[in-house]
Symmetry: D4
Subunit: 217 residues, 8 copies
């Protein structure tokens, strides 16, 4: 596994990461990590590596767009001096274009999204052991659905940014698309945006693969 | 894996199983399964086998002793016509002897415990594909601790019942003992009785082994 | 307009009708009608026909399937001796097959659905001035979506029952399909099942057409 | 209809406009618009013109007098750069003279009211496509009622201001007076000041006429 | 004063009497009497006659019509074996005809009202030292207001019943009409039906006159 | 009566005056006056003089000592430019010496109390039509009770201050002493410090005498 | 000390015993004993005799009179088969005569009180190792206070019953009288009826003497 | 006893001292002292010495480490000008190393702990009659338990600091160790860190010894 004893790992993002985490930093006991994928990941890593101390911190913010994530990056991420940084952002950039199309969404456009992602990569990449971009995703099986298309477009931008900076890209949309071949979206999410516990485990599983964790059992 | 498409699996027990499940049956969406090991197990099985429909039901009852579990067995377990039944009971039978030793604890003695376990096995074994007894456990590393000793004694009775009826015995105490070689109990439980999310994953992992699940990643 | 002064009109259904109505009967002041389409309809009728007294009652029940509606029909609908009865049911019969496919859904199958609808028609049709069946619907534009297909199948059954008993059938799916040509589902519903205030107005508008109301302005 | 795709429309006023809107701006999903006439209007416009994106914002403030509206005008209205502005104010200016006559009501007198209305017109008229003054109203049928008389006097001032600035004046008192020929005030308002859902629809209907909306059905 | 040491006095009625009284009987300390006219009356009698023990009980029921009052008469009034009985009923019989005219109001008609009043008089008059009928009232100055007219009609029936049984009739409408010559209804009631603390004192004052209390100061 | 139309009257003091008044000023509708003697007084004055507008404001502060009253005098009393000022203070100055004798009570001693009272008199007397000092009181019949003695001592100081500045002194202790000849303290107060509704009426009655109000009935 | 290992001791009474105990029996962890003298006693006995298991149960009921205590005696006390029974009752029998003198207090008279006490003694004395009557008390130093006198009268009856049945009588009034030589009642009780933590310790201390406990330190 | 009439005594520490005390200072009536050992101590001192006024203040802060205690020392302790200061700190310094070992615990190390303790001693010792260091403790009987060992190590540092400054050291660990020879930890604490009421009495008893209080009974 790539994490070493004593490493600090930070997960940034929106409500999909947040999941009710503690403030100001989501860490420690008593639901500090929220109840989403970060908790699943922490549980499994703790079970697998009781001999390693890993400081895992959830700094997701419900409702955050990529612009919000950038605006709070210093206070949420940099202040923690992490060794590893994961972020998953863009769902709200896209969603607002579909559920509140009549409001002012000018700062959510692809160029802004790309710029926001590049900004956090440029600032943080030099200071960490590694950074990971997790794709935004939409738990919709129909590839012709307009919001699915738009989400895939933003995921594509995220991948381009990852490639530009030689950062691993974690393609969660592909994971969900595979799962949706068998199950209907309502089984893992009430609104196709927020994963329930099954959806959270799909994300955690993919991260465990990427960080080369040993088998759980 | 031993579960087949369409199987109904019931988990009975005390607060360690309950974890805030829905009433009258802990199943379905919206925290129906509680947030303990049953949820972890369901998440992982759903991720592993999206092609299989498994009806997993949590009928744990916070505070239940083996006598309480037996008293509610018909309504909680038999009414569901399960194919598989798991139960984990005994923590309260033992704990009350230590935290409320001055109250009347006569129905919590080893003979009663053994009789309660035998009763549910006799009633239910003929009607199911399989039954599993999960050991009660205490997240205490010191084998000379008196409550640890007593819990191990009850776990031994549970194993004897399992052996008598040819039921698989899931030794969770051994799992926790192994983990406690590396971590202090406070890391996985605030009172050494109730596992937090890490403890719940330890239980889920062991069950996944026992039911021969395929690798998670 | 078909309603006459003094008529009693009852709306039965599930959460889409209920919308927080008062118990035991959803009528009168202070949110008695809930805040869904029944309220929209009542508002507009009150504005249009201040000279007519119409007793409009909402007896929708959140979570109800067609079986639940039938079970409570005597107490909810017949006890009111209505002149006109509208019902819209089936969304939960279908939804449970998709969001909780692993639970026991045997009573939600098409034959049961048809039988439940026929039962209420046979009992009530002879006693009223008119009865209307409103189609269940799904705010999903993609006709190949499996839950959309299933919902359309159930709407088809509802139409067959309506035709068999010479009852007007109100095709709400067609209304929503038309709207979804312009707007994304998230604009009118957070889960494609529960209409928000815009969705409620779409339903109310269609009913106003069917009952031949005069123009609003 | 006078609104064009992309237009921003703001509704200012008191509790009759507010109706529980979101803060700081009443717009978007999840009861953002409150549950009064602004919501009714938005629902119907969304149903009528799914092809037009209209940003409708409710900035009503419960309890506001014309002085309060003026004091918050920059932050509530101008900050949004609206294309169209509607306001309905004066009910509290009048009401306080009747329900708390013993307190200091010197800033609620006709001259102040007129000055407050002129101030917002002068500031905002040059920057918008159009502005509308909606009359304050009192749901009292008796024209000799002293508060009705006073409200009509203030509505007259509002009309004079509208005329002076060539702003359309929406005479809601006339709408309610017409309705009250058929129904008693208690049917549409618990205190003759706050319209319930029927009263809200009366307001929405009049606005739909004024903006030349196409028929609803 | 007509009450003697040890007398039990009961006040029956609707929300205007109830005012948040204790259940099952509104008496004793800690807001037992509610905070309406019964409390005012009790305060003043206690101040005036500290040497007399009077058991004053409030059995008003919010929302009660004359039919409801009759239905609960045995349990609310007779069970207390009062020496004196006061009741004030009819506001809801009338109000429902105006604020919910479309619901079934057949049991609220004048004949029913008269019959309900006669029934309680016949049952209770022989067992008490005295009975008083307090008029229903409406805090509306305009005698041509239709609900005012109707309330006056019901008050007239109440007077006729009082006269028929030789029971003193307390004309509260006259008291409020006098007050409304000086103050607007909103000063003493938010809806012209429920008196606030000033309105409650008007009622208490009139009762004090009728029972021939000595001067307060 | 001494108050004239348009007069502003302020009541300052501690919890005995406060009684849950509105903030920042206790006045107007909806329990603005609290539910103690100020409300009783306002009710009766409103009933007696519907032709007079009196602005009555309650600025009592629960827990206030004479020092606290002085500290907030500018903001609570002077800011209102009252015509008449009543204050009743000292209960907490005394009580703390008995229920928390071990805390630092140096600022509650007689000299401080006298100085605080003189300070508010000097500041305010020149600006008002009249000022009244209401005695602190203790609802204890036993004159040898040490807290009663101390309260009487403080009431004596209040009287001396009143005499020095030619301010009317309202001796409430005498009123309560008279009442306690007939009733036990628990009947009018749960702790002998806070009057209930009967106690509040005793205070109101005395004030009505002092201001020469006409008879209530 | 008189209690032996394994003894069950029950404390019955009113709110002074209850103090928020658990239902149906006040015992065990988590505030099961309430926070009054029973808890103090249990704490000190646990500290003094860690080698003895004593089942201490609080069955006090807030508001209970001696009649209420008798009515619930079987269910509250006898069902527990106690070895030792303590009760302290009568405060409410007396208090109601003073704070609600106008209500029907006929069942609270001395004869009833005596009979209620005798009844529980006769029923229970033959079945227990020992019974103790604790005097009702009033934290009032003035022996001429009428409620103090009445309480002393009832305490006298309690003593007579104790003497008649050769039951030890615990004179708590004497304890409080001694304390009140130094401190004012408000220091140990807000209403002279309910002891605070200091008052609870005074009771516990006296019981420790009576049961001949060894020194605490 | 060492405390003299008028002395101010302050207890500083963490949640074990805090126990829900009032803010900003934990003193006075109404649970001001919290419900832990400070309350027990105050109760017993009040019972023993009704003739002495002792100002006892609880300034414990839940969750505080020795660093937190030092940071708030001026505001919490010095501002009160105490005559006597007791503190008990270190449980959180140690606990975090075991329940959140992966977070940054660098400021909790022995050297910091020692320095924090020395700092408060140096600042305060010259200004008080006496200071007491109470040992941190862990209610664990097993001396080989790693957290017990660490706690004993910190208690040792506390003793060294006490010795260096000639301050009495109160060895609470020894008290609990003695108790745990007889009772299991769960009887006096749910997590071996927070004492329940029995544990609080053990602490209070020891302090009573140290301050040479006279016997309780």
């Amino acid at each position: 596994m790539i994490f070493e004893n004593g490493d600090a790992i930070v997960f940034a993002g929106d409500s999909t990461t947040d999941c009710g985490r503690k403030r100001p930093y989501g860490e420690g006991l008593w639901e500090g990590l929220g109840n989403g994928y970060v908790r699943n990941l922490d549980s499994i890593l703790s079970v697998l590596y009781p001999d390693k101390l890993l400081r895992i911190t959830n700094v997701g913010e419900s409702g955050a767009t990529s612009g919000d994530m950038l605006a709070h990056w210093e206070q949420n991420v940099e202040a923690l001096n992490p060794n590893w940084v994961f972020f998953m952002i863009g769902a709200n950039d896209v969603w607002r274009q579909f559920d509140e199309p009549n409001l002012d969404n000018s700062k959510l456009m692809p160029d802004c999204y790309r710029a926001n992602l590049e900004a956090v990569c440029q600032r943080t990449l030099p200071k960490v052991k590694g950074m990971f971009i997790m794709s935004p995703f939409y738990m919709e099986a129909n590839d012709n659905d307009p919001m699915k298309k738009r989400m895939v477009e933003y995921a594509g931008i995220a991948k381009e940014v990852a490639d530009k900076y030689n950062i691993p890209f974690i393609d969660l949309q592909a994971e969900f698309d595979e799962h949706l071949k068998y199950r209907y979206p309502a089984y893992i999410s009430w609104d196709r945006v927020h994963p329930n516990w099954v959806g959270g485990m799909i994300i955690a599983r993919k991260i465990l693969q990427v960080i080369e964790a040993k088998p759980l059992y």
